[in-house]
């Protein structure tokens, strides 16, 4: 990466293979509640395994697929 930022970014704009930790999961809908329940809470390691209209993310040791538009609610801090 040419520029490194300290700010958390939505997982929807991460590239394939990017790793980091979860900063926040926003929203009060059932999707964000479920994401949190399966472990997407601050500090948990996260990685993007597939990009596209449907993304695959690894949260802790589980892998989930969800739409790119829904993945915007997960913000993470990318590892350098």
């Amino acid at each position: 990466m040419a520029y490194a930022t300290d700010a958390a970014t939505p997982l929807s704009i991460w590239g394939r293979g990017d790793e980091g930790t979860i900063e926040s999961v926003s929203g009060a809908n059932q999707l964000s509640a479920r994401l949190r329940e399966v472990g997407a809470i601050p500090g948990v390691p996260v990685r993007v395994l597939r990009v596209g209209s449907t993304v695959v993310i690894q949260v802790g040791s589980s892998r989930f697929c969800l739409r790119k538009t829904d993945a915007t609610c997960i913000k993470g801090m990318k590892a350098a």
């Binding site: 329940e37 802790g60 989930f64 969800l66």
Partner: protein, 726 residues
């Protein structure tokens, strides 16, 4: 002897029920099967079990308990109908159910942290808890180390390491279960959630009959979700108002649900500190590497198409030798029956009705087995969730999500479990829309119909690299259902079931080698089901149709042909055969079936069908395979060739009254398209009624599918003729 009887009677007097719960796909059903000796469906994707199932487990002291297998759930705040079933059972909200005395929670050792979330909730529902730590082999392969005794100490409940698919650790598990059922010690409540929440919950629970503290706590926290709305609806407006007041009292700042999750994971991390050693959580596994190809936007979709084409080709090429064997067997039996039974109605019923009809269906057993071999392998290797991922792209524009694809894929086996599998869909409108298009997926009952017409009329040509024209035609027919389902779902979601687009979240399990026992059991069960159907429903329908085609016997026709034969005495065998064929044909024409058929003919003629096809299709509305049986019977009655019971030859030889062949490629295609689209299955319609609780949905399904089937068959026939395939 006396003790023996006492033992047998004991279960009926207050037998304990233990519920099996846990996250989806952690091996609950595998464990349930291993403990009870049953063979409920198992598969490597979340959402295999969508119903409650009860089985009996004999404990080491010979006493028996009931084990209750439940759908998987990530937490007790249920978000879809299948999770609701599990949570309602646990919370004792199902009146019909015997109350649960203890809970057996199954954890995935390779996903321990996430699995413990629900454990922290289960520790608070005032039931004894036993933890089975499953999938230890997977954890070990990833270098994950778990100190089970230490975990047990932290949780305050027994933790038993097992490997359900290899049946290891079960003896210890049974020992512990029998101890827990007998003693029934409820775990002491860890101070995970704020005391104030419990105080409110307790107060409300005291006020309302039949409401436990655990239940109130749940709905206090879960404001708007599926489960909370369901409970509030049930206990009335007063309860709702009190709940609202309590919530206002304890709610400071962030929503309770968010606070709950953070508090629980805080507790989980504490419990796991020094117990779990995972050296490299974000390690790239073999599954990840496979997924780079199999979920790749381009290569993934291509692999999907290649896998499907291979499946359909194999259904034909692998089945042929086996089918020839079954065919020969029925030929022999038919010959034997004609020889032994006296000529007349009984002989005709056995030979033309049962053997030609039911036999014509049973012949396709090998195809059914091969289809289920592939379905079972796909289900148990972990590919289903990937297919759903790829299909999300296709389903999003029609208002559904990839979540709908798993029920739709299940419908390729049979629409009934497919409709039930829609319970995993959170959104009620999405769920109904999925149910309504599920019967468009080509179920295994359509396979015999496709197989007979493709086998008889589509040339066995190699198109490219081992993929034949027959396999491609079959593939195309499966696609017809899929491609019609897309606009139908789109229209439904735009009109009757209009709603917001719903999110899609699906766990991708790691790939594994399919279990031979699981696959074998699936093939065996579906094969048996197929034969049972042939022996009951199809047999009954065939006999009715045979009777309609055999009666009334016309004296005049018999007398006329008797006289003819006398006149032509000494004529060549060929002439006599011809005469007999004419007689049989005329008899059939004037039978009840023939008369009805002629009335029907104008309706089916635009599709290129003669009255026999029309009647056979009409008779297939209760169950589609009936068409094969009925055509077998009709052609066997209207025919003289006693040696060949092969329906294929009869179809190829059939002619209109003016001598033209009835069947050509467009006619065969038109029939198959009709069957691909038509709602010819009473059981499916009944299940849709049960799952939606309303008659209008099965009625709508029936009407739209039948109309589409007619239009589809008409267009296919005309197009085929215009292209000169006739």
């Amino acid at each position: 002897m006396a003790t023996d009887i006492a033992d047998r009677e004991r279960p009926y007097v207050g037998r304990a029920t233990v519920a099996v719960v846990g996250n989806p796909n952690t091996g609950k059903t595998t464990l349930f099967n291993a403990l009870t000796g049953l063979s409920q469906r198992v598969g490597n994707f979340p959402g295999v079990t969508v119903e409650r199932k009860v089985g009996q487990l004999t404990l080491p002291d010979k006493s028996a308990i009931d084990l209750l297998d439940l759908p998987g759930t990530y937490s007790l705040s249920a978000k879809s109908p299948d999770e609701l079933i599990a949570v309602e059972a646990l919370m004792g909200l199902l009146k019909s159910e015997s109350t649960i005395q203890a809970v057996l929670v199954v954890l995935d050792a390779s996903n321990l942290r996430r699995s413990l979330y629900i454990v922290s909730q289960l520790l608070e529902i005032d039931l004894p808890l036993v933890v089975a730590l499953n999938m230890l082999d997977v954890a070990k392969a990833r270098g994950i180390l778990i100190d089970a005794p230490a975990l047990s100490e932290r949780l305050g409940v027994p933790v038993i390491p097992i490997q359900a698919n290899k049946r290891t650790g079960l003896d210890e598990l049974k020992e512990v279960l029998s101890r827990v059922v007998e003693k029934g010690a409820v775990p002491s409540r860890s101070p995970i959630l704020p005391q104030a929440w419990w105080v409110e919950a307790e107060q409300l629970a005291q006020k309302y009959e039949g409401v436990s503290t655990g239940l109130v706590l749940r709905v206090l926290i879960d404001n708007q979700n599926t489960f909370a709305s369901h409970v509030v609806e049930r206990f009335g407006d007063d309860f709702a108002a009190d709940l609202h007041a309590s919530r206002a009292k304890v709610n400071v700042g962030d929503a309770l649900a968010n606070q709950e999750i953070e508090l629980r994971y805080g507790w989980v991390d504490e419990a796991l500190d020094g117990v779990l050693r995972d050296p490299e959580p974000l390690r790239v596994t073999r599954s990840d590497r496979l997924d780079r190809v199999l979920t790749h936007p381009l290569w993934g979709s291509l692999s999907f198409a290649v896998i499907m084409a291979f499946v359909f080709q194999s259904i034909f090429s692998w089945a042929v030798p086996l089918m020839d064997g079954i065919d020969a067997l029925f030929g022999t039996v038919g010959g034997w029956a004609s020889g032994y039974l006296p000529e007349g109605a009984l002989q005709s019923m056995v030979v033309d009705g049962v053997i030609a009809g039911v036999g014509g269906v049973v012949i396709f057993l090998p195809q059914i087995c091969i289809l289920f071999l592939f379905i079972a392998v796909l289900e148990d290797c972990g590919y289903m969730a990937r297919a759903a991922l790829l299909m999300d792209r296709l389903l999003t524009p029609c208002g559904l999500s990839g979540k709908s694809f798993i029920p739709l894929l299940s419908s390729f086996a049979c629409a009934i479990p497919g409709v039930m599998a829609t319970r995993t869909i959170n959104d009620p409108k999405d769920r109904i829309a999925t149910m309504l298009v599920a019967p468009l997926m080509s179920c295994s009952a359509r396979l015999p119909v496709y197989a007979i017409f493709i086998g008889a009329f589509i040339p066995d040509q190699n198109v490219w690299g081992g993929i034949g024209l027959q396999g491609l035609t079959l593939f195309a027919l499966y696609c017809v259902g899929i491609f019609v389902a897309i606009p139908v779902a789109w229209i439904l979601k735009k009109t009757l079931l209009r709603g917001q687009p719903t999110p899609f979240l699906l766990e991708l399990p790691s790939y594994k080698i399919p279990d031979v026992g699981t696959v074998g059991m699936r093939i065996y069960q579906s094969g048996r089901h197929f034969i049972e159907r042939a022996g009951t429903l199809i047999l009954a329908a065939t006999i009715v149709m045979w009777a309609l085609a055999y009666f009334p016997r016309s004296e005049t026709i018999t007398a006329h042909y008797e006289a003819e034969r006398e006149r032509l005495a000494g004529a060549s065998e060929e002439i006599l055969d011809d005469l007999r064929a004419k007689e049989a044909g005329e008899m059939l024409q004037q039978s009840f079936l023939g008369r009805m058929g002629q009335a029907l003919e104008p309706v089916v003629e635009p599709l290129g069908w003669d009255w026999r096809i029309g009647m056979a299709a009409l008779a297939s509305f209760p169950a589609r395979e009936v068409i094969v049986a009925v055509l077998g019977t009709i052609y066997s009655l209207g025919e003289v060739d006693e040696e060949s019971t092969s329906l294929r030859d009869a179809l190829q030889a059939a002619t209109w009254s003016d001598g033209r062949k009835v069947f050509n490629i467009p006619v065969a295609l038109s029939i198959m398209v009709f069957f691909a689209l038509c709602a010819q299955c009473v059981s499916t319609l009944a299940v849709i009624q049960r799952e939606t609780g309303a008659w209008r949905w099965p009625v709508l399904t029936f009407v739209y599918m039948t109309v589409l089937a007619y239009i589809g068959a008409f267009v296919t026939y005309r197009l085929g003729m215009a292209l000169g395939w006739g």
